[in-house]
Symmetry: C2
Subunit: 160 residues, 2 copies
């Protein structure tokens, strides 16, 4: 007998929990970085990890807000290196803001095609998954930077 | 007026498409690696990229099969370095196998708690998301290795 198949497999709450679990791990990686290496250390001509963190901040709330409201507003941050404490404070602001905006995403916006920031055609769910992928991708690069600096990164599977 | 909220946001088909899009990108990264660096090049004492690729192979189909059937069977691979062509052939086998097994996952298995490989308690959906995260994470590290070797990695956003 053929099994009963699922029509859907992820609730908005479960995706938020997955995202915030990843964000908690990213926060640990930021916090482990030596202050003087955050915007200076690099391998192979890549960006320093602090610049990648700023990219996460540029993406997380502007994308969540865009999916929720259809308004795509770029985030303003100082264009220069920020002290670690400032990055972490911005991170924590986003944690609360993401929790607050997520339950306001209307049902139709998950599947609906939109043009993110007027440029990138995507369904709501896909650009949110992309933002998570992007954070995991660059955080993995941060792990290499930490190892190259002789610092042990946090366990990948711990998300609480 | 409060918006109508979604109860679910991702179909099994959409998650498979997301996974296979990521796997196509990973395949490109494997293919770009110089044969003689795949199991030798490393930064900061980390594993060479070829070992990470073997981990992806250990996870992808055994996890998909475990979620689909409740049977957790570890994959056997040679414990030594494999030629790139062999890794790519195994990769392509998994691509077809993943497409084949995915639609057989019974509805109840996505939410059901199980003990993956007899060890890791997880719902089906969570261990599948974890497998994707893990691949994105280590592939990001492969990007650093490629850059350190003077090789430009593929664009992150291209998944076709």
């Amino acid at each position: 007998m053929a099994p009963t198949l699922a029509s859907n497999v992820l609730t908005p709450e479960a995706l938020l929990a997955h995202y915030q679990g990843n964000r908690r791990l990213t926060r640990r990686v930021i916090d482990l970085f030596p202050e003087d290496k955050l915007f200076t250390f690099s391998i192979g001509g890549m960006r320093p990890f602090g610049e990648m963190v700023k990219e996460f901040l540029f993406m997380t709330m502007p994308i969540a807000r865009g999916v929720a409201t259809g308004e795509w507003v770029e985030k303003k941050l100082s264009q220069t290196a920020a002290p670690k404490a400032e990055l972490l404070a911005l991170w924590d602001e986003d944690t609360a803001a993401l929790d607050a905006i997520w339950p306001t995403i209307p049902a139709h916006r998950w599947e609906e095609m939109d043009k993110a920031f007027g440029k990138w055609p995507s369904r709501g769910i896909d650009i949110l998954l992309y933002a998570i992928d992007n954070e995991v991708h660059h955080r993995g690069q941060g792990y290499v930077y930490l190892r190259a600096l002789g610092i042990e990164p946090p366990p990948f599977w711990v998300r609480d």
